[in-house]
């Protein structure tokens, strides 16, 4: 069972206390974007076997959305961080560099 520490209230919450919210750090494309950008934003997903960044909500706790870094191949949780960011914080990236050297994901950061 997955256990995440909610970055807002500090509670160690288990899976049943949380709701999964899908891939994190999606750039939202809207009017004016190309068809490919828009359908990519709506449907294409990273779906990696390995390091993944996701949105979760502490539904049966403080109710807030946060981000988590997790391995989809082992279910190891690397850490959680607040939702108000376009990329994972340095401490998470450092953990990943140590635990999963050479990990890849799609390009991160604001566009």
């Amino acid at each position: 069972m997955l256990v995440f520490r909610c970055p807002y209230c500090g509670v160690d919450a288990e899976e049943t206390e949380l709701s999964p919210g899908g891939e994190a750090h999606l750039t939202r494309f809207g009017p004016g974007s190309s068809d490919a950008e828009f359908s990519g934003y709506l449907f294409d997903r990273e779906n990696p076997k390995g390091v993944h960044f996701e949105r979760w909500r502490h539904s049966y706790g403080c109710g807030k959305w946060f981000h988590a870094a997790r391995c989809t191949a082992t279910l190891e949780v690397f850490g959680t961080y607040p939702a108000q960011t376009t990329e994972p914080p340095k401490d998470i990236l450092d953990t990943l560099a140590k635990k999963r050297p050479g990990w890849t994901w799609r390009e991160l950061g604001a566009k």
């Binding site: 069972m1 709701s19 490919a36 294409d44 989809t72």
Partner: protein, 414 residues
């Protein structure tokens, strides 16, 4: 390959069963094939079979990283039905159900297709209206289904409790010609027929890269060396995204765990398949007497092929109100498979941005029932570049907004 028959059984019984030959040959990879399939699950094997049978293409290899049928094909709860809402779905699932009826004869291999009937319970007024609508749609599609009232439900399933406090049974969508089949036998039967046509089934051979030149596929890298090909079919279910990444494109697919469990064997008590979609649980009884039980899928990406306790609890809890006898059963074992979910909960049978490379995935929680129909259509798509059964399921439907929205009709993992 020797044919199986009643006569062969008698002959071998008198011969200490020493004369049986291997069902399929354990092949070594060659340098090049006309067509390579990645994934020896039901869909990959069925496609290879119909490619040979319908189009005479037999210089084919089916590469499997583990063992034949060890993916979702060997992990599912084997429900077969075709009572979908949308026309393209009804067409491919009904083709599959129809082929299942004659599959044992066609393959000369007993897939134990058991058209025992599938009943989908309506336990809210919303569901009643939804299933009545599906029954009407099915009538127009030529798929035999019927909406039945609670009394008929009780006749079909005597162990059911109709007047549960939270979700009384208000009726159901009944497909008398739906049922189950032996999952392993479907994979083995197709494999045996493919091998007899001279195709190579290569196990313990993981594809690790896709080779291409000038936008056209030329072969694959595997743990047993590079192999060239003219066309490539990716049929890897939960690993579709991983293969797509090797080929340089992305898919609108997410991989999540779906699990199932079986009880201790008990005497025959239910001779149909029952699905309770509002509470997210379904059940049938295997020939061994075990109650085969499934529920909903996880909501997060996962490649670990195992389940979780809270899901078992949720699923069993859901069924107890409608089937009180379940509360006295001991559960024997539980397992998980990684299913490939698309945005509209319909599969993808399509060309890809890489020329010569085709993808068959996105069957998610319900692709066992589709195996023969999917193989039939996908073989045609790969041979001719176009197929009536597959055209609506192409990848561009997401860009063009032509969704085949079955999430309502399916309701539950099955």
């Amino acid at each position: 390959m020797k044919r199986y028959s009643a006569f062969a059984l008698v002959r071998e019984a008198l011969n200490d069963h020493k004369g049986w030959s291997r069902a399929w040959a354990d092949a070594q990879p060659k340098d090049r094939y006309d067509v390579i399939f990645v994934g020896a699950g039901g869909h990959g094997l069925a496609t290879a079979y119909y490619l040979g049978k319908r189009f005479g293409i037999t210089n084919v290899a089916i590469l499997e990283k583990g063992w034949l049928g060890g993916g979702n094909t060997g992990r599912n709860t084997t429900i077969i039905r075709s009572n979908y809402l949308q026309d393209p779905s009804a067409a491919i699932y009904e083709k599959a159900r129809d082929l299942y009826e004659g599959l044992s004869q066609d393959l000369n291999y007993n897939v134990m297709f058991s058209p025992r009937g599938v009943l989908m319970l309506a336990q809210t007024h919303h569901e009643v209206r939804g299933y009545q609508r599906t029954a009407h749609a099915n009538r127009l599609q030529g798929v035999e289904t019927e909406f039945v009232g609670p009394e008929r439900v009780k006749e079909i399933v005597p162990i059911i409790r109709l007047d549960g406090p939270r979700y009384p049974v208000l009726g159901g969508l009944w497909q008398a010609r739906g049922g189950t089949a032996r999952h392993d036998a479907v994979a083995w039967g197709y494999a045996r027929a493919c091998s007899a046509m001279g195709m190579d089934i290569i196990q313990n051979c993981e594809v690790t890269g896709v080779r291409s030149e000038a936008g056209k596929v030329t072969g694959v890298d595997t743990t047993r060396g590079a192999i060239g090909c003219g066309k490539l079919g990716m049929v890897v279910a939960g690993h579709a995204g991983v293969l797509a990444q090797m080929a340089g494109f992305r898919l609108p697919v997410e991989s999540v765990a779906l699990q199932a469990l079986v009880s201790e064997p008990i005497k025959p008590c239910m001779d149909v398949v029952v699905m309770a979609n509002t509470v997210h649980g379904y059940m049938s009884q295997s020939d061994k007497g075990e109650m085969v039980i499934g529920g909903g899928a996880d909501g997060f990406n996962n490649y670990t092929q195992r389940g979780s306790f809270q899901h078992i609890e949720e699923t069993v809890r859901a069924l107890i109100e409608t089937f009180p006898m379940v509360s006295r059963l001991k559960m024997l074992r539980q397992w998980g498979g990684i299913v490939d979910m698309t945005g509209d909960r319909s599969p993808i049978l399509s060309k890809t941005p890489l020329e010569g490379c085709f993808v068959n995935c996105g069957w998610g929680t319900g692709g066992f029932k589709a195996i023969p129909g999917s193989g039939w259509g996908f073989a045609e798509l790969m041979a001719k570049g176009q197929a009536p059964l597959c055209d609506a399921f192409s990848l561009d439907r997401f860009r063009e907004g032509r969704f085949i929205d079955e999430s309502v009709a399916a309701g539950v993992a099955h």
